[in-house]
């Protein structure tokens, strides 16, 4: 069996004096991550592995944690602008999440201007959800029109967090923000719901890349913000395997928990079993022994 590849890029100097990430360093992390993941000599060349120049790319961010604990604008805007400029199609890149309020609270300014990067929410004017539910196994949900209709390829740019119910929230669970009723899928540690949602064509066929924002990781009592359990990890995690990326994200959280003397998620009976379900559904690799983890620093 061919191992899935996950790349972790760490940048010790990513945070500036004002405690916000430095966009230039973030960009360098992206470039190194993409090159390492694809083996391309240039990061720009790596992009062509995943995206055509004529398609609309959605970057699904996670802003439910508001300003304290969301995908940071420095992280997502850097990616979106670089992607748009490299593929010469900036207006075809959409940064998005479910509500305008959450985006704004997380520091984003909505943008629908033609010719430039778009920042949209499902509740933005003239968008919303599909009228009929999409059904897959135990899932029955209305999909955001952004995910279902506007975009043709997708990046899950999720913030990595401990999650009281799911165990871990990362790239796959980020797509809970693409449906109207995520509150219905949190029991049983979100298992099998995270996997079954990802399996739906609107996600599975469009998803190209997972990037985990692990610059600062809420490793305990997430997904809410608790500064006493927040670690400056200064990492970005890259993979084309959505399950493997999240499995490595889980490992990062477990390592932090162990370092701080906290019990493992398994000991707290909330390990993210949806990853193993996803593996059984052939969505990717959940077992670390089947994942090649490449760690680099800049």
């Amino acid at each position: 069996m061919k191992k899935s590849k996950v790349v972790i890029i760490t940048a010790g100097s990513v945070f500036k004096d004002n405690n916000r990430p430095e966009a230039g360093i973030i960009l360098a992390m992206y470039k190194k991550g993409f090159k390492t993941l694809t083996g391309a000599s240039q990061a720009e060349e790596a992009l062509t592995h995943w995206f055509r120049t004529d398609e609309t790319i959605g970057i699904k961010i996670n802003t439910i944690g508001r300003r304290a604990l969301s995908t940071r604008p420095e992280t997502s805007l850097t990616l979106g602008l670089w992607l748009g400029q490299t593929l010469k199609q900036e207006e075809n890149v959409i940064l998005w999440d479910r509500t305008s309020e959450e985006l704004q609270d997380a520091g984003y300014k909505l943008s629908t201007t033609g010719g430039s990067l778009k920042i949209l929410a499902t509740d933005s004017r003239n968008l919303g959800y599909l009228k009929e539910p999409t059904v897959n196994r135990n899932i029955g949900s209305l999909f955001s029109r952004i995910q279902a209709e506007l975009i043709s390829s997708s990046i899950s740019l999720a913030i990595l967090k401990d999650h009281g119910l799911a165990g871990v929230t990362a790239g796959m669970k980020n797509y809970f923000g693409a449906i109207h009723n995520p509150n219905k899928y949190h029991d049983y540690n979100c298992n099998p719901y995270v996997a079954e949602l990802f399996e739906i064509d609107y996600i599975r066929k469009k998803h190209r890349l997972t990037i985990l924002d692990a610059l600062r990781v809420q490793y305990h009592r997430g997904p809410s913000y608790h500064p006493q359990w927040l670690a400056d990890s200064r990492k970005l995690v890259f993979s084309t395997d959505p399950v493997a990326a999240d499995a490595v994200g889980w490992k990062i959280i477990e390592d932090l928990r162990a370092e701080k003397g906290l019990p493992s998620l398994k000991e707290e009976n909330r390990q993210p079993g949806y990853l193993f379900t996803a593996e059984k559904m052939n969505l990717g690799q959940a077992q670390l022994e089947n994942i090649e983890i490449i760690e680099e620093e800049i």
């Binding site: 539910p133 029955g140 509150n183 219905k184 997904p223």
Partner: protein
């Protein structure tokens, strides 16, 4: 003031006629033209604070434990900074004047009209939900109007409805609003009826029973695996709810939506009827309602009428006194028959009463007391 504010004002004040030109039945929303309003921020009841700004909701048997900024399974109650709020207090997403028979209540003020309302949200996820476009939504995803309890009562009086019905979605999730409205309505001489799936904890139910006159419980199945797969809930708490209501002075009716091949096993229905007779007696009405394909179950046909008839026969054979066929207008199973002399005492067609052979609460033919709330 925009159009919405104007209409809110119209609903809230008594000086002008509410929604002029609206007939006394039908969806008031068509005329009101509502918009998505802001969310309410009224502290919820029945929860406990936990360390680290977490809370545990004790309203229903899910006992959702939520971190800051998280919502419960219902989607309408949110932890904000360690305090739990209902987001739908007064946020009415559906508003109609309905015949009470539509709920259905067949033994409670027959022929009267109920001022019927719902907010968004539900603490279950039935794959066959008939009102999923509001029940399975978060409040910000539906259009609603702000209707504080005082305005609701005033509107109900204006339409001369003797009762308010909390219905359509799951009133348990808007408990605080329902409770406050019920207290106020009772002071004004209005009655309160609740249409629920019964997935609620005993303590809030005990409080609710004190302020409402009738509750209709949707018993979805007599089988836990059905509840797990198609309802995302539990059977036992619903059975406890039924028993708790039956022990009180609040009137109870039970509806069983019959879905072909999923919950129509006659033996299971027989066991359910035996349980009902043993636990609450034979006098609470049981309605077998016809399913129509909806929401996530569109691959099954409507329930054959013959199935409903067969299940009604099972229930009557098991000794239940008042067993009805629902959603089949004109069917003889819509009528009430005296359990003593067998004669027709209330003839219905759909939601309309055609004939009533009751003298106060007794059969006009033989004098048998007919269980119910008739005046």
């Amino acid at each position: 003031m925009d159009r919405r504010d104007f209409l809110k004002c119209s609903l809230a004040t008594s000086g002008c006629l509410l929604l002029p030109g609206v007939s006394l039945s039908g969806n008031l929303f068509r005329v009101i033209n509502p918009a998505s309003t802001g969310l309410s921020r009224v502290e919820a009841r029945y929860y406990q604070k936990l360390p680290d700004r977490e809370i545990r909701c004790n309203l229903c048997p899910r006992y959702c434990q939520l971190g800051d900024r998280e919502r419960g399974f219902c989607g309408v109650r949110e932890n904000q900074g360690g305090k739990y709020y209902t987001l739908v207090y007064g946020q009415v997403a559906s508003l109609n004047v309905d015949p009470i028979e539509k709920k259905p209540f067949f033994h409670f003020l027959p022929g009267s009209e109920a001022f019927s309302l719902a907010t968004a949200g539900c603490n279950l996820h039935c794959k066959f939900c008939q009102n999923w476009e509001i029940s399975q939504m978060r409040p910000e995803q539906v259009k609603s109007i702000n209707l504080p309890p005082e305005a609701l009562i005033a509107a109900c009086e204006r339409y001369r409805c003797p009762a308010i019905a909390y219905t359509y979605t799951e009133p348990v999730v808007f408990f605080e609003y329902m409770y406050d409205c019920s207290v106020l309505a009772r002071k004004k001489g209005l009655k309160n009826v609740v249409v629920t799936a019964g997935f609620i904890n005993p303590e809030p139910l005990a409080d609710l029973i004190e302020v409402v006159e009738a509750i209709k419980v949707d018993l979805k199945s007599f089988n836990q695996s059905f509840y797990t797969e198609y309802v995302r809930g539990e059977l036992q708490p619903v059975l406890e709810t039924i028993k708790q209501i039956a022990r009180s002075k609040t009137w109870l009716e039970i509806v069983y939506l019959v879905i072909p091949s999923l919950n129509d096993n006659p033996q299971e229905i027989r066991e359910m009827c035996r349980w009902l007779k043993n636990e609450i007696g034979p006098d609470y009405p049981l309605h077998f309602s016809r399913f129509h394909p909806m929401y996530l179950i569109k691959n099954l046909p409507p329930t054959p009428v013959s199935t409903l008839e067969a299940l009604r026969e099972v229930a009557l054979t098991e000794g239940l006194h008042y067993v009805y066929v629902g959603n089949v207008p004109g069917h003889p199973g819509e009528n009430t028959y005296c359990p003593n002399c067998g004669k027709l005492i209330i003839e219905r067609y759909g939601y309309a009463i055609r004939k009533k052979e009751l003298s106060r609460n007794k059969c006009r033919h033989c004098g048998q007391v007919i269980a119910g709330v008739w005046n």
